[in-house]
């Protein structure tokens, strides 16, 4: 596609839902109400691990104002030893995460729920539910959970023939890693630890569910996929999918954390039992105790190279906390870790380890930051040992077109080298540093994703355009859709409205996640719009009584072409729309696809920090990210993704962590104590968009959203090493840890 000729693609247009959001009118899940609505609340286990002997709800049911009470018995029972997959989620885990069955597996695990006419009565009723627990020994830490005498969470899970908390293993192999290390002249091996961190969306989970006596169900909820909500609720409650209409409310952030359900099936059951619409919203404390986060980890990475910096072998072992039920992102950790590099011999292993904490949910490039943190720190040490510039080391070993990656693919045209080149040439890389300051670099990779998408493009009777897609818009994707549609139709962007359809109004569309939305929706929107354009040409041909092939669509109008060129005055969209009925009826087209060809995304980051030797605080002074995005359909929202990911990475590196008390409960379940970066913690976050078009996409798009969280952990760690001459091998690099290095206790 000729970039220069684009009128709307690449423009910083105003998003279609913008005015709605700056005026406070946009309806998020917690903003919705219904006549007769009542409130649902969840009773949660105080114990990190306990058998549930009995639950007596009779007193709660007797409380005036209580309209329904439920336990796991009210959900479909999925036997624990038989997998029932829905996409990447296993319903036997999902049903147990939504409500505990045999055992409570973490402090905060739902055990029962009530719906009452007020929130206060619902809270009161929870206190009247009597649960008899048999408290069991528990384990939180990933390394502790793998010890031979660790309490076992799930008796049926075995590893190497013995009951174990290791619930899964994934392995990528390329070449002969032992031979590679034998030939290497310099080898660096290090181990790393990261803490679980939460996605930190500002909007807590919320939903409103109505079930009519005939079973027809409507769900408004905050999720990254209304179709996911429908399917999971259908599985867990036994309703057929056609009876469930899942409507995506505006969503106040997700970052992966809203790719599964928590409240929806509970509210559904309560609504069905009570005959009243039920609203539920988590408190922030519930969000921290029982939703998300991503895994804590223990990793070991070993890399061997020749003296001139050619990497010959790499081995990585990544143990990830899954939380109480299996499913940690080992594929992201083990698969992405070495993916930016052309390494002939690779062995990458991921282990999924359960422990008594809330089940992890996806978090922006799930697992990949954990793998990259270890690899990119080891590369920094390797560069030091080789006396090589760390970016030059990366450039020398960069994956390029034709490189075979350990996780499977042979890369087509990718833009990784370009990100390193751009970083090398950027003034940031040569800017002087002051005392206590340091600079670090790191790179990162994310698979990106395609998958199912649907779109419908309709021409209104007055010649404007309404586009409907099936993906919740979490960060401005409606603007990209409008840019593409306007571009293809050759009309003003403001003539295009973009809506997100619910499960009953648009075809199946997979989640907003995996950096797939702009990629996949652009494909279905492009194909739908092309169909519409063909129809418009046919209609013009009919009006002119010429062959449809003799009509072209240019600059927003149908023009006679070939022999007929200039024979008739062009017909605009509005003119054709006005005559739609007489020329064949309404004009519109929809396309549904399982999109493929989402090629990987790469980034390289430069970070400058300053360490305060008195306080032990680390301040990021300057940050520049360089990312190959294929084609930026809306550069502002591309930059926004890059900046948002970087900010989350800085939080992960410096200040965010789950802290557990001696009873195995989260000790910091608030934004005050779980410290995410605030405005005064950060500098401007500079971005350099690199566009190496994806040859498999009509506009050249690559996924953008997740890669930005992959390099920052190591970029910050490497910068701190540059400033202090000391390396930290565990996150977060918070003031107490930094001070311990600056002022050893015995000094």
């Amino acid at each position: 596609m000729n970039v220069q000729a684009n009128k709307w693609i690449g423009q910083r247009t105003i998003r279609p839902d913008g005015a709605d959001k700056v005026t406070g009118r946009a309806a998020y899940a917690a903003d919705t109400t219904m006549p007769g609505m009542i409130w649902g609340k969840i009773l949660r286990s105080p114990h990190p691990h306990a058998c549930i002997r009995s639950i007596d709800t009779s007193k709660a049911e007797a409380l005036p104002g209580v309209k329904a009470v439920m336990t796991a018995r009210d959900l479909v029972d999925f036997p624990i030893d038989k997998s029932v997959m829905l996409g990447i989620q296993d319903m036997r885990w999902m049903c147990r995460n939504v409500m505990a069955r045999e055992k409570a597996l973490f402090a905060g695990h739902p055990v029962a729920a009530v719906a009452a006419t007020s929130e206060a009565i619902a809270s009161e009723a929870l206190k009247l539910i009597e649960v008899e627990y048999e408290v069991l020994p528990w384990v939180i830490d990933v390394e502790e959970a793998m010890k031979p005498d660790a309490p076992i969470l799930h008796d049926h899970i075995q590893f190497e023939g013995k009951p174990s908390n290791i619930a899964g293993k994934l392995e990528h192999k390329l070449g002969d890693v032992e031979a590679g290390f034998a030939a290497a002249e310099v080898v660096v091996e290090r181990s790393f630890r990261t803490k679980p961190v939460h996605q930190g969306y500002i909007e807590p989970h919320a939903c409103l569910v109505s079930v009519l006596p005939d079973g027809k169900t409507t769900i408004w909820s905050s999720s990254q996929g209304q179709f996911m909500v429908r399917a999971m609720c259908a599985h867990l409650t036994g309703l057929p999918q056609n009876d469930i209409r899942a409507i995506q409310a505006e969503i106040g952030g997700g970052f992966g954390g809203k790719t599964i359900i928590y409240l929806e099936p509970v509210a559904l059951v309560l609504a069905r039992k009570s005959g009243r619409p039920v609203k539920m919203a988590m408190t922030r404390e519930e969000v921290f105790r029982a939703s998300g986060p991503t895994s804590g980890s223990y990793s070991t990475v070993r890399i061997g190279a020749t003296r001139d910096g050619r990497i010959l072998a790499a081995k990585g072992t990544f143990y990830l906390q899954a939380g109480a039920l299996p499913g940690s992102p080992i594929r992201g950790a083990a698969g992405c870790a070495f993916a930016p590099y052309d390494i002939p011999n690779v062995h990458s292993l991921g282990f999924d380890v359960v422990s008594n904490r809330s089940k992890v949910a996806a978090y922006r490039a799930p697992g990949a930051p954990i793998g990259a943190y270890a690899v990119e720190c080891v590369l920094d040490e390797l560069a030091e040992a080789l006396k090589m510039d760390p970016l030059q080391l990366r450039l020398k070993n960069a994956a390029r077109q034709g490189t075979k990656a350990a996780h499977g693919p042979t890369y087509p045209r990718i833009g990784f080298e370009e990100t390193i080149q751009a970083a090398l040439e950027h003034p940031h890389y040569r800017a002087p540093l002051g005392p206590n300051q340091g600079r670090g670099v790191a790179s990162g990779f994310w698979f990106n994703a395609g998958g199912e998408s649907s779109a419908q493009v309709n021409i209104t009777e007055d010649g404007n355009v309404v586009v409907t897609t099936g993906h919740p818009d979490i960060g401005g994707s409606r603007a990209s859709t409008a840019n593409i549609t306007a571009e293809l139709l050759g009309i003003d962007y403001r003539k295009v409205s973009v809506l997100i359809g619910d499960t009953s109004t648009i075809g199946f569309s997979n989640l907003t996640g995996g950096s797939r939305v702009t990629y996949a929706s652009a494909m279905v929107v492009t194909q739908s719009t092309e169909k519409v354009i063909r129809t418009l040409c046919e209609r013009a041909a009919k009006i002119w009584k010429i062959d449809p092939d003799a009509v072209v669509w240019e600059d927003g109008e149908a023009r006679p072409a070939g022999d007929n060129a200039g024979q008739f005055p062009p017909l605009t969209l509005a003119q054709i729309a006005a005559r739609a009925s007489e020329t064949g009826g309404p004009i519109g087209a929809g396309v549904q696809l399982n999109t493929t060809g989402a090629e990987g995304g790469f980034a390289t980051h430069i970070c400058d920090v300053e360490v305060d030797p008195e306080l032990g605080t680390v301040r990021v002074l300057r940050y520049t990210s360089f990312q190959d995005v294929g084609r930026a359909i809306h550069p502002s929202y591309v930059e926004g993704q890059m900046q948002g990911g970087v900010a989350q990475g800085i939080g992960w590196a410096l200040s965010e962590e789950y802290i557990y008390d001696k009873q195995g409960r989260v000790d910091n379940p608030s934004f005050l104590d779980y410290r995410m970066p605030v405005c005064s913690d950060l500098p401007m976050l500079d971005t350099v968009i690199i566009e190496v078009p994806n040859p498999k996409h009509p506009q050249g798009v690559r996924g953008v959203g997740e890669v930005p969280l992959v390099p920052p952990l190591a970029a910050v760690a490497n910068a701190i090493h540059d400033a202090l001459g000391h390396r930290f091998y565990s996150l977060p690099m918070s003031p107490p840890k930094v001070l311990a290095v600056l002022e050893p206790a015995d000094a």
């Binding site: 009118r25 969306y201 930059e639 926004g640 005064s680």
Partner: protein
């Protein structure tokens, strides 16, 4: 317990409501008054999504008792645009993509407006510290700060 009767002014409109003595201003705004533009991100004063002004002072409405609104002036995000004219900050936030999911936006806008009322020419650092009570997880704050500083410059220009 008997409900309290409160007379107040919200976005210039005389308003009356009944509330429980323990109810927060945020609950009353979002519930009986239907002003759901103020958001609840934490309910504990840590996120700023519920930011409003009370007699011109910025407050977290989740930490204000509804009964405290008696005879006071409240402004919320719903009163920021004048008719169909967006406030310059709202317009700039749209032009500069200073929001992604938008859940923090009402609170950020309320806080930024008060900043510019009190300090029409803030430095970047002043703006960052002023907005430090408004968590945004999507944007990394870069575009928010740029939009606030740009709006300040434009408003100064317009006032000349």
């Amino acid at each position: 317990m008997a409900k309290l009767h409160v007379s107040t002014t919200i976005n210039g409109e005389p308003t009356e409501f009944l509330c429980e003595p323990s109810q927060s201003m945020l609950d009353v705004l979002r519930g009986p008054l239907g002003l759901t533009g103020s958001k609840e991100g934490c309910g504990s004063g840590d996120c700023g999504a519920c930011t409003i002004t009370l007699d011109g002072r910025l407050v977290c409405s989740c930490l204000v008792l509804a009964a405290e609104a008696q005879d006071r002036e409240i402004r919320t995000i719903e009163g920021m645009a004048e008719g169909d004219r967006l406030h310059p900050l709202q317009q700039k936030f749209l032009e500069m993509a200073a929001l992604q999911c938008g859940i923090c936006t009402p609170g950020v806008l309320m806080a930024a407006r008060t900043l510019l009322e009190q300090n029409p020419d803030p430095t970047e650092t002043e703006a960052r510290f002023w907005l430090a009570g408004n968590l945004c997880r999507c944007t990394g704050y870069d575009k928010i700060i740029r939009a606030v500083l740009d709006t300040a410059a434009e408003m100064r220009e317009a006032a000349r």
